[in-house]
């Protein structure tokens, strides 16, 4: 009986290992591909031998997609959007969760409803709107749109978090004559670290990986971004596999590094966000 159980366990571990390998095969394939030439990628797709190894792809790709500028733009868009989202959403979440009013509850309902709207449907009016506001083809236009479209989910997260904090928290402060903003900034803001992390991870990955907004609103040459730039290696006919893979590695690596450093928060944040969503 016991023997059968161990045999079973070994078998299930083996299946798990095989599945994991299959799952990660595409990643392995493009990562080693980034260090090979096109012919080697095609001939020996899953091997990286010493004589195939080359770094030639990197300088070409970095130059062709204007990598450093695109990286700078993408970082700027992501960070500033997140900053706006966190400030606005924590303020709104505080009002909704800690100040009793029907109006605020209604506002919460509005935000939850807005979470549902598919972005692509509103793309053209957004382009028109940006032209009207003079933010078309500017990074700020991109930032404001990203901030707005991530706002409902962020408000939802912050409200949920602040609702669960104990009721007595602000009472003493109000009695001592603290202003509402003081209560928000001095008592609540320091407690918001976990939900801010969740919010930044959930929204940040989405903004970083965005293709549609920057593709539609930004000029590729004037304001390159990573996810649009990578499409340049993907011609109609002959795709230079080596360049394409090298590009994939370059645009994905910052997020991967971030993930490796903050794994715990990523996993926790995703789980928390989903359960509340």
């Amino acid at each position: 009986m016991k023997q059968r159980n161990t045999a079973k366990k070994v078998l299930s571990e083996l299946i798990l290992a095989v599945c994991t390998v299959v799952m990660l095969l595409p990643i392995y394939y493009f990562v080693i591909g980034a260090f090979k030439k096109r012919t080697d990628i095609i001939k020996y797709p899953l091997v990286l031998a010493k004589e195939m190894f080359t770094l030639e792809n990197f300088p070409y790709v970095i130059k062709k997609m204007n990598y450093w500028k695109a990286l700078g733009n993408t970082v700027f868009i992501t960070l500033v959007s997140l900053l706006i989202v966190v400030i606005c959403a924590s303020l709104a979440g505080f009002a909704i969760a800690r100040i009793r009013s029907r109006l605020f509850t209604g506002y919460y309902g509005l935000m939850v409803t807005l979470m549902v709207i598919p972005f692509i449907g509103c793309l053209l009016p957004l382009a028109v709107q940006s032209t009207r506001l003079g933010t078309y083809n500017t990074l700020w236009g991109c930032i404001l749109i990203q901030a707005a479209w991530n706002m409902p989910f962020a408000v939802f997260l912050f409200t949920g978090f602040m609702r669960d904090l104990p009721k007595e928290l602000e009472e003493a402060a109000y009695i001592d004559g603290c202003s509402t903003f003081g209560v928000y900034s001095r008592i609540f803001l320091p407690l918001l670290a976990p939900v801010t992390a969740t919010c930044c991870i959930r929204c940040g990955v989405g903004i970083w990986n965005d293709y549609l907004v920057s593709r539609t609103l930004l000029n590729e040459n004037k304001n390159p971004t990573l996810m649009v730039g990578i499409q340049g290696f993907f011609g109609a006919r002959a795709t230079e596999f080596g360049y394409a893979f090298c590009g994939i590695v370059l645009v994905s690596i910052p997020m991967v590094i971030l993930f490796l450093c903050l794994q715990k928060y990523f996993i926790k944040g995703i789980a928390a966000g989903a359960v509340k969503g």
Partner: protein, 309 residues
């Protein structure tokens, strides 16, 4: 004496509440302005344009009432598009949920295995970090008929290569696999969180009563995981209907228009074909589909709260 203080207190409280209310309004303002300008106004405009024949460029347009909606089915290949879209959304969801659920069961902490669980969980989450733009390219290259790795493996194993991107039906599966690959990581994490919230004593009690592992799975794990499953099913289905760049970059709508999805048609009508009225009507259709799915989620989760809460 005591009466006056209570009245004073009351007045003080109401003035405090009024104060809070006013501050609250100010607190809502930044998010409200942003969402109004960049979400509500465009949303209203889409709905309004859906009743017009606007081409997206010229200053003039006419109101045509329900024309765009009544003639949606006359859009070339409308039926095919709806079939492709629904197949894609449901196929991605099924594939993702099944794989993610089994993986989560295998990765659950309670199962003490030889492979380190934390590392495995991170590995499974990895693809979820990649952009749809990147994953689209990656899978397109892998599906390549002559040079793609998938066909290389097939021929290496003595099988005949498959024309993944130019065979009707097969390409639909190809984009589903690519999309599921990204979604699985998220769902595994959510399932794992759900599994960890199941009290361990339930299993112990069941084991004492002689329940087999299969019975435990059926009578404890499944019912306790119902809300996680619902959340994952709904979010993946919605993501499937919303998906744009990933399936587009893999298949480009080919062969024919058999993998052209609703979102890609919206983009086409709005930006390429200059038929914005129709594109808007399609946008509203997408909105209605997603709203209905969300409504199902809301009703279902409410009902569960009534039962268990």
């Amino acid at each position: 004496m005591s009466q006056t203080t209570s009245v004073q207190q009351k007045r003080k409280r109401t003035s405090l509440e009024r104060d809070q209310f006013r501050s609250g309004l100010v607190f809502l303002l930044p998010s409200l302005i942003l969402c109004a300008v960049f979400m509500l106004v465009p949303l209203i405009e889409v709905i309004r344009y859906s009743f017009t024949d606007w081409d997206g460029l010229s200053p003039d347009y006419n109101f045509v009432g329900l024309y765009n909606y009544l003639h949606l089915h006359q859009i070339e290949g409308f039926g095919e598009m709806m079939v492709a879209t629904i197949t894609f959304a449901i196929g991605t969801t099924l594939l993702t949920i099944v794989i993610a659920f089994v993986t989560a069961l295998a990765l659950d902490k309670k199962e003490k295995g030889r492979l380190p669980r934390g590392l495995m969980r991170s590995l499974w989450f990895f693809p979820a970090l990649l952009s749809g733009s990147v994953v689209g390219i990656l899978w397109r290259v892998m599906y390549n008929y002559n040079n793609g790795v998938i066909n290389k493996i097939l021929t290496g194993a003595g099988l005949s290569p498959v024309n993944w991107l130019e065979t009707r039906g097969v390409t639909n599966i190809a984009i589903i696999v690519g999309a599921a690959w990204v979604q699985i990581g998220f769902c595994v994490v959510v399932f794992l969180a759900g599994l960890q919230s199941i009290p361990q004593d339930l299993y112990e009690a069941a084991a004492i009563d002689g329940a087999t592992p299969r019975q435990q799975l059926k009578n404890i794990t499944f019912p306790m995981m119902a809300s996680s499953i619902t959340i994952n099913v709904i979010t993946t289905t919605i993501a499937g209907f919303k998906a744009y760049e990933l399936p587009y970059l893999i298949s480009n709508g080919l062969p024919g228009k058999s993998t052209l999805l609703l979102t890609q048609r919206i983009f086409f009508f709005g930006f390429t074909a200059n038929d914005y009225g129709r594109g808007s009507a399609l946008s509203v259709l997408l909105l209605v589909i997603i709203a209905l799915i969300s409504l199902v989620q809301l009703v279902y989760l409410r009902r569960r709260e009534d039962i268990y809460g």
